[in-house]
């Protein structure tokens, strides 16, 4: 089926509005995080990067799981738009992954004087990133859209199954070689005043994820509509 161009444009518009809205909310949260939240006891100002890191990790991993879920749906429903969505989700996931992999070293340098340490979140994100890269490498190597959708779905589903094993690996690895834990807050539960911005940014990042994905999905639909093909 050939996606309808107007529906595609509407999707893009909706996506852009959602993204803009989320970015405004995000700005609001960061104002709150900087101006109205006290610095954390041990890590000081640099702690606030948690408000970018943790939600980004949440978004990246969710993006990945959604790629797997749409893969399953694709085999069930055979709708090529599911593949367009999967591609959008994977791209957005990579974007969030890039955020973590760039801000992480910056923070690490500030706190610990080292750009990289094999801490759980960075390691996990790196592995996830590499799986995403493999996903795009596969997509670029397959020319037929239906075959590309099928193969991507297979890789997405297998990747989704791999995620718990990666968590396990990273956790066990870290317990062998405890690294300076860059991103975790102090051991006791966070006080509400520090936790609140975190929870809010999680919600907003989720909205932001949907904003990005909707926009990118719309762009994918538009491209398909213009090319007159399924994907």
């Amino acid at each position: 089926m050939i996606p309808d161009l107007q529906a595609a444009e509407r999707t893009i518009t909706r996506g852009r509005i959602l993204t803009l809205f989320s970015l405004l909310l995000l700005a609001g949260i960061y104002v709150m995080a900087f101006k109205f939240t006290p610095p954390e006891a041990m890590q000081g100002l640099a702690f606030k990067i948690l408000y970018v890191h943790a939600p980004s990790a949440w978004a990246a991993e969710s993006a990945f799981v959604l790629v797997g879920v749409t893969g399953i749906l694709y085999f069930w429903l055979k709708d090529p738009r599911l593949d367009i969505f999967a591609e959008a989700s994977a791209e957005v996931g990579m974007v969030f992954g890039t955020v973590i992999l760039t801000t992480g070293p910056i923070w690490g340098r500030t706190i610990w004087g080292a750009y990289w340490a094999w801490d759980p979140r960075l390691t996990f994100t790196l592995l996830l990133y590499l799986i995403f890269a493999g996903y795009f490498a596969l997509r670029s190597a397959v020319r037929d859209p239906a075959e590309r959708a099928r193969f991507s779905a297979v890789l997405g589903i297998m990747g989704m199954l791999l995620v718990p094993f990666i968590h396990l690996t990273v956790f066990l690895f870290n317990s062998q070689h405890p690294t300076p834990v860059l991103m975790a807050p102090q051991k006791s539960p966070l006080p509400w005043v520090l936790l609140r911005p975190l929870l809010m940014s999680l919600v907003v990042f989720t909205l932001l994820y949907f904003g990005f994905v909707t926009t990118r999905y719309g762009i994918g639909l538009r491209r398909a509509a213009l090319e007159g093909s399924d994907a």
Binding site: F75, L127, L130, I131, A133, G134, A137, L138, A141, V142, E147, R150, F151, A153, V154, L155, I157, M158, L161, L162, F165, I166, L168, T169, L172, F173, Q176
Partner: protein, 225 residues
Amino acid sequence: MKTLRAALAIAAKDLRIEWRTKTALLTSTVFAALVFLIFVFSRDTGTLSLRELAPSVLWVTLALAVLTALNRAFLLERENGALEAILLAPVSRSAIFWGKWLANLGFVLIIEGVAFPLWILFFAVELRPILLLVALLALLAAIGFTAVGTVFSAMTVRTRFAELLLPVMLLPFMIPPLFFASQGTVRLFEGRPVADAVQWLKLLTLYDIAFLVIATMLFPKVMDE
């Protein structure tokens, strides 16, 4: 059962062909030996003894050797379009997976069978009963690597950059089993009680079961047209 017979026939056919030509077998085994040499010559001889290096080297080498071995399975079917003959037969697509997986596994086990003694030799590994457990880890790791590798190589063989694409796709999937196997090996080498290593065996087995099941379910989708 028809599926089993077909799967065994496919595996037997693959191994018979490989035995006749021996090309992939020889190349992969020599490759493993060469990787050992690279480790020996590239390390810092002052600080890293061969013994210390031994466990990690074994697993890195096996992982790389598996990568070279996997391309064989579906490349073989491309000559004369032979895979079509299998697809034409009233045989389930899962049978094709089992046959190819068994062939790949057999192949990898032969490579491991040659690489293992070389490793013992080159890295001055003491001959102790725990090596049997390391061999078991090698078997379990091979099962996991080949389960995922069979599905991926079926996909990549039809693409343009198969030799490069397969490692890029497969290596992230090899990291957990690699980690489990190598941790188990390190524990055994450190002289820890066997019970310590058993935990890693269990994790490997869990990975193998999970991925064998999902591979059986997804492989038919790769064969679709």
